[in-house]
Amino acid sequence: MIDALVLTILMTSVPLILAATGELVVERSGVLNLGLEGMMLMGAVSAFALTYVSGSLLVGLLAGIMSGCLTAAIFGFFVLGLATNQVATGLALTIFGTGLSGLIGSDFVGKAIEGLPTVFPETLSNMPFIGVFFALDAIAYLSIFISFLVWIFLFKSKYGLILRACGISHNSAHSLGYKVLTVRWCSILFGGMMAGLAGAYLPLMLTPHWSEGMTSGRGWIALALVVFASWMPSRIVYGAILFGAITIMQLAGQARGWTIPPQFLSSLPYIATIFVLVLISSKGTAKYLAPSDLTRPFISSK
């Protein structure tokens, strides 16, 4: 019973880790993409549709990643190419993605597919206590690995340093000769691919069917998670598991007749995020954590 609970928590946190890690890279480069929910939904519906049609999970996964990337490209075209307001453009992307995914998916409602298999044989996953950590699918392990890679990239490589520099001061980065817009394009596309993958995980693994708006706010939670993690990849993993646990706890709590209202638990991620935001903007070193040029459009003068 506990094992099943832990397994559910871990699986719930996977799409959060993926989407938030992607968004983290985008925000580190100085762009706020509020369209996560839209990109995830596009990823989810494409992954489901292509898996259903082709019968291949791999094709479905790739389709999810690609459509997340394409959706992000729309965002990039507007906020980078035309320097539109990032907040409004992100909201437009969410509205658009939610609508278009529903439209594409309308033929697939009620259909079922085979989910992703687990990686390890059952003998491993049936072990007491630690077995649960062998009961996951490939993407779950991949998500941890990607978050590790992103950390290596951001903090151990020159390109990661350049990306962070663009988020801190695009004018300085420009003066040193770096192509701010190119850096931001790459981050936005990467963020889109991750959101697409996160979306794909939902119908392929969590609930093997498609339903309209099936992300049910996970995009917003992921967005909150980036702030909650104060733009550090490793904290996203802990945070996602924590947020996942809160989500599952309230379901489990309901079943056991807990007195804490489930709505209170559900709102904890949002309240925690506001709390972290306040902490970051108040005095002390915390205020240096946010990329200082976040949401500021860079108008190329070259």
Partner: protein, 364 residues
Amino acid sequence: MFYLTPRKEISLFFTISIPVISILLTIIFGFFIFSVLGFEPGKALYHFFISPLSRLDKIADLFVKACPLMIIGTGLVFCFRANIWNIGAEGQLIMGAVFAGGLALSFSETQSVWLLPSMAIFSFIGGALWALLPALLKIKLRTNEILVTLMLTYVASLFLDWLVRGPWRSPTSFGFPLTQYYPDVGLISKIYFPGIGNISQLHWGVLIAILICLLCWFAMEKTVFGFKIKLIGDSPQALRFSGFNESKTTITLFIISGGLAGLAGMIEVSANIGQLQPNISFGYGFTAIIVAFLARLNPAAVIISGLLIALIEVGGDSAQIALAIPKVVTGVFKGILLFFLLAGETLTKFEIGFNYHQKSSLND
């Protein structure tokens, strides 16, 4: 790749034509999307854009749908003009409805005609309080209002959910998450036209909404206060030079936009629902953002843009009924429309060129 050069004169031609062109482009896109999906595009567009205008009662429905959009949208115009990004109107709407609902439910036996005005005031306070937190955080700690208002929306929505499932649930709702009905004096009545009677659901709230838009337009265009709003958005330095207080103006704007969103919530419930339930708004708070942009941040134009967006919503319903086109297509339309409007915003401010190697800035 593009490069952008600031325009010296904001083009009047663009200012007027951008909403029109955006709508036309969206319709063309709609034509394309319907064709791809295998619906007859002409027919689909007819049901979307013409059918809701074909009968008087349908037009009345349009106004009813537009009512909350107008009230919220006009408040958001104030914020966006001032470069304040309150995107949590949805949450402020809910808190307004909760405050008004609380009052109505505590006086469920009253016959007093003062209940409705009191509810209106309470709803305004509720929405304003919910907007005050991000406002104070913004001026005291420079906390980003975008994320705070967004997060508070979800908290408000969960709070309402808890209320109607828990302490405020009506004992006679058979376990459904619904409160008691409001007393009759807490409801907004339909407009009675002598000789015609009621036209569909058309209620007095619609008139209030239009009045609010006009009042806001007056405040924006004719008063020193409106001037202050434009100043703070355009140049906070000029605002200080002018002798105004930046923090006070910011707080006032949050209170107005939050309060109006709250009022919209109260009107929506009192006119159309009559009791609180988990879902009282269908994303009005977010849709109103598009309304504000479509009106090009002019409160009077919000009346028209609110009706246009309502047309897309109502058209979505009619297309779903007639042709079984999924309702979600309205989201696609709204998203595309907002994209075009934002691109238009850039066009008015910048000249767009395609020559990559032009270096053209004095201070970079």
